[in-house]
């Protein structure tokens, strides 16, 4: 099981109703359904990934998450997941606001753009970093937004969004301290 999936699963109470924005090939949602007995639905923009979702028995809507949530009433879902998708949306502020509107809790997984390796590459090599969490070159990255763990904390603080849990992950697993310096990715459980 992917490390980030393991920690996301731990944040989800059994028998919940879960929406995954940018659910990819449905791997995480199928775990959520099997391990946590949740009802689940996903939104995904990539046609090939949709076939995989249907194969896994994951209900999925082909569409883009920037314009996808108006269909849902307030607090419809127990959890809305935005794992590794927030940095790829056009309007993350709106997407998070919408996720918090339709979900009682929101799980956000972000790549940390300011970890030590990235900082070294920028500082000493003078190049845009390519790291574990950011495996792309500048010319082929799908990422539109570049943020760090601290940036996301600030974002939440400014909007009175409560961070219930913050889990920072490196190559060796969960990181206990200096999250912003040492982790590749971070997963937040938030609500408003």
């Amino acid at each position: 099981m992917r490390q980030d999936h393991k920690y996301i699963l731990e944040m989800i109470e059994p028998n919940s109703h879960v929406l995954d924005l940018g659910c990819g090939d449905g791997e995480l949602l199928s775990l959520v359904m099997k391990e946590k007995k949740c009802r689940a639905a996903g939104i995904e923009i990539d046609e090939k990934a949709i076939y995989k979702c249907v194969e896994r028995g994951v209900s999925v809507s082909h569409g883009d998450i920037d314009s996808g949530l108006a269909d849902y009433s307030d607090k419809r879902f127990d959890y809305v997941i935005l794992n590794e998708s927030l940095q790829e949306v056009m309007n993350p502020e709106k997407v998070i606001a919408e996720a918090l509107r339709v979900g009682k809790k929101v799980i956000v997984g972000i790549p940390n753009f300011c970890n030590l390796t990235a900082r070294i590459q920028i500082f000493f090599l003078g190049r845009v970093p390519v790291t574990e969490g950011l495996p792309y070159k500048w010319y082929n990255t799908p990422n539109l937004r570049f943020l760090s763990i601290k940036d996301f904390r600030d974002f939440c603080a400014d909007r009175s969004i409560v961070i219930d849990r913050e889990c920072a992950l490196g190559a060796q697993g969960e990181i206990a301290f200096a999250h912003n310096l040492l982790s590749d990715i971070a997963i937040f459980l938030i609500h408003k």
Binding site: E47, I50, Y51, G57, S59, G63, D71, R76
Partner: protein, 391 residues
């Protein structure tokens, strides 16, 4: 061509054993119901009976009758969805999708497909004999709606002893029927697969149909629908079919298929004979249409499509209240006749009702015809969707 080819006169006997193994060739079966005084009451309030449905089945119904899937055909389709009729040149209209190991796997599922009422392929329609007069109904046939088609096929499912269908499915008009079945008989099915369809006909869809209808009705041979046993309205049918074919393709698919290629000549003729391949193609399609389809049926069925509006009594969201089955909704990027946004409206209304729906827009250039020719993507989706439903 025998102009009465679409008139059926046989005494009809339903198949004696449903579990009978289908031999090498598929045979159409017939089910007659709604004999007087138990005629069905159509949406218009008019009574119709007796009603015959031509239908075919593929695969075996299992012991607890839980593996049945009802397929609905499109406007000019028929009950012959798969396999081969004896001496036929072509298999059924959805043969690439239905059969052993195919998307609708006949090794696992029992597939049923019936010709709609109003049609001309063995089910009661305007070319059938009106028992009151002993002559074909013609325009005395009552107006039929999508709801009437669905209700009449429920009789067939009841007759076959099936309480709960594993799925209903269809493309285009068949998709409208699958949608109508889902909201009308939600307790009778587990899932529905809607392909290249809509929940109401839009002004453009109605307009295109009206041009096709006018082409038929402007043909003097149409004779207010009374042409059986006489010269057929071939010219009107040809034009209506040409319009239809244009709407079923996309600009790109026409460009890829025909471009500006000339038909049987090196240079354009500077006359009004056929120069371009696309002209010959449409002419051929148009001319062959009258051989296989009844003009009045075309009028009735196209009208049925135009009348359909799932949101006519309540808003679309309200229409899906209480719907519990799962849905798979498929559209195609190049389908401009039933564009994807129409299915997205359906998805949105379903989501508002917490209905379990999966939606995909397949990238393809085949236009509306994609549901008949884009087999790879549809096969994967349908086979996986069904195997998850039947788990």
């Amino acid at each position: 061509m025998n102009p009465r080819a679409c008139v059926h006169l046989r005494p009809l006997k339903p198949c004696s054993s449903l579990l009978k193994m289908t031999p090498q060739f598929i045979e159409t079966q017939y089910f007659t119901f709604a004999n007087a005084p138990n005629e069905i009451v159509l949406k218009s309030g008019v009574k119709l009976g007796p009603v015959t449905l031509a239908y075919e089945t593929y695969g075996k119904l299992n012991a607890d009758k839980s593996n049945a899937i009802l397929i609905f055909h499109a406007l000019t389709g028929d009950a012959h969805a798969a396999g081969w009729h004896k001496d036929a040149k072509n298999p059924g209209w959805w043969d690439p999708m239905i059969g052993p190991g195919k998307a609708f796997d006949t090794d696992k599922y029992f597939i049923i497909c019936a010709n709609v009422i109003g049609g001309c392929k063995g089910s009661t329609g305007p070319s059938s004999i009106n028992p009151a007069t002993g002559k074909p109904y013609g325009l005395n046939f009552p107006v039929i709606t999508i709801e009437d088609m669905v209700v009449s096929q429920k009789y067939l499912i009841d007759y076959l002893g099936i309480k709960k269908l594993l799925a209903v499915s269809g493309g285009s008009m068949g998709g409208l029927m699958a949608l109508e079945w889902s909201v009308r008989f939600p307790e009778t099915l587990q899932s529905a697969i809607l392909i290249a369809t809509n929940y109401k006909h839009t002004a453009q869809q109605i307009a295109l149909h009206e041009v096709a209808r006018q082409a038929i009705m402007a043909d003097p041979n149409w004779n207010k629908g009374d042409y059986y046993g006489r010269e057929l309205p071939a010219q009107g049918m040809a034009v209506s079919r040409m319009i239809g074919h244009i709407t079923y393709m996309s600009e790109r698919s026409m460009e890829e298929k025909f471009g500006r290629k000339l038909q049987g000549k090196e240079k354009v003729g500077y006359d009004f004979s056929h120069d371009f391949e696309v002209e010959s193609y449409l002419k051929y399609r148009g001319a062959s249409f009258v051989q296989r389809f009844d003009a009045n049926s075309y009028l009735y069925l196209s009208k049925a499509l135009d009348y359909f509006d799932l949101s006519e009594n309540k808003d679309l969201v309200g229409a899906f209240k209480g719907v519990k089955n799962k849905f798979l909704i498929i559209t195609f990027t190049s389908d401009w006749l039933y564009p994807s946004y129409q299915s997205k409206d359906i998805v949105r209304a379903m989501k508002a009702n917490d209905v379990d729906v999966s939606f995909i827009e397949i990238e393809t250039s085949y236009g509306h015809d994609s549901f008949l020719v884009e087999i790879d993507g549809q096969s994967k989706l349908v086979s996986h969707f069904l195997s998850n439903i039947s788990k």
